[in-house]
Symmetry: C2
Subunit: 355 residues, 2 copies
Amino acid sequence: MATLTKNDIKITRTETSKISSIDFNNLAFGQVFSDHMLTCDYKDGKWHKPEVVPYGPITLDPSSKIFHYGQSIFEGMKAYKDNNGDRFLFRPMDNVKRLNLSAKRLAIPELPEDYFMEGLKALLDVDQDWIPTNEGSSLYIRPYVFATGNGFHASPADAYKFIIATAPSGAYFSGKVNVLIEEQYSRSANGGVGFAKAGGNYAGQFYPTQLAKDKGYQQVIWTDDTTHEYIEEAGAMNVFVRINDTLLTSPVSDRILDGITRKSILQLAEAEGIKTEVRKVKVSELVEASKNGSLKEMFGAGTAAVISPISGFGFRGDDFEIPEQDQSFASQLKNRIVAIQTNKAEDPFGWRVKL
Amino acid sequence: MATLTKNDIKITRTETSKISSIDFNNLAFGQVFSDHMLTCDYKDGKWHKPEVVPYGPITLDPSSKIFHYGQSIFEGMKAYKDNNGDRFLFRPMDNVKRLNLSAKRLAIPELPEDYFMEGLKALLDVDQDWIPTNEGSSLYIRPYVFATGNGFHASPADAYKFIIATAPSGAYFSGKVNVLIEEQYSRSANGGVGFAKAGGNYAGQFYPTQLAKDKGYQQVIWTDDTTHEYIEEAGAMNVFVRINDTLLTSPVSDRILDGITRKSILQLAEAEGIKTEVRKVKVSELVEASKNGSLKEMFGAGTAAVISPISGFGFRGDDFEIPEQDQSFASQLKNRIVAIQTNKAEDPFGWRVKL
């Protein structure tokens, strides 16, 4: 099959742009949406050519399997614009490949990589004015696939829809976050779908997260569901811990998302001369390190939040504060990654993709 | 708040009934849908009155959280009609209560019980002609709730839709099923959402089930995700095992659905003088019992499949056949439960609800 290029993609433009109604200086996260979206249908056993169309409603039968059996996966990406107006993506092929890993686990047909990448490029050509240039803002990109096929039988759908929608966005969190280490509820099972960006992984976290919020925390740090002795991830972020001058993070597994920001940070830290260790981290080790003063930092890492410093953690009714660092790894690494993403620094890793 | 009754519910009838196009003698499971549905919206912090409307398309914004974060729950019920044309439900309040247990775990606002029950009654008045009377057929009822609120932030939606749709249906499985005992993939985590009827629980099973189908099995029997030593449930069914003359089934837990058919079978078996044990069942015990001839039967139990006899199981590359029984518990109990459901027998348990 010939490869699709962005110029092959049919574009239907909106008649009335919303862009003049958007306050780009006061953007929340993922609440206003650009004028267009990419849409692509799977039916009759294959993915049909993607098209760019005006952002608008989706109509489904009440028996569509998305409503019943949770077949949905997504990715999170960002587009950046520099002072010259050049536009950039960050490691986009990693998102393409991970979407297809998620697809396979959720019994969703894998998507041709060029449909995703060339479709995204065509969309970002049409909506290039929607990429914010303010510091800390970017165009959040949400590629997702969900079951549209009909019927109440609990089996994979015979039709799916792939969409890329975009939202000019500000910060995901404002300020540091205080986290609760969770021992009762779990995010994912051994042999489950925790490594995938599956919709159901998120819904299952909302209730325990709400209980944590009611106690004054903003996020939950999940532990393994078997022993609850090891920290895993924070649901929307991977977790890093600095003990003395070593940066630790859990290995990825079938329970833990292989975060693109996570692996970028590991490479960046190495390049910056920061010692890293990828190994399982015990909750008891965190508590001990907090007590003896060797716990210097914790932070979350993910596309939406980039690097999100953690101010402290709760565990079994006790709160452990993490003191402010003058020279924090979180700031150092966040500055580096954002500079690369936004074309303010060289990119020795080949991560940045110019559009 | 005054209780809603079915007569308070606004009804908008379809202008063109599809019923004459349906072949009630050849019904698949959940593939044709009755003329109407009940619909009920949660917004502005409350559930609004349900209405009966023509079965028809649902329109959503591309950022609706159902597409992204898997907030969806459902129930499965059936309506039966006897030879006098009287209509019956089976333990419907158990579905109402379980829907709200699922809702709580998935951070979905709980539904007023009368909105569900009185709404269902109103719907089944309007669509009473859709309840099949053929042996083995029934009107499958699908109550479900999903997130309609918009936005890419990974947090609970601010709007939801509750729908009851119905589908005149034949058998879920045709004939006995051959199952695979799964040791690599898992259905649910300790502290997870396995006990809830959450959409995501089903999507996660499709791929391992497909792998099992490729090997010649129709269903997977899930084991606990920590040790894989104990059988749990079959995803769409709870599992019963007969060893000699004792009927065993796993206790429900946060990983195992509290099936209404399951608990009805336990009560029925007791009334029939069948010895039951609710305890964890080891895979090794099944293998041993199969080898020494004490494994007499296995069957699945659930609303859709009622009681579904299992012809054998695969485990670690070996196949264990379960011989045909002249006097099977599966047949005896299925006949009893169906007779009660369809008003062909007395109902000493008070399970049947006449509409």
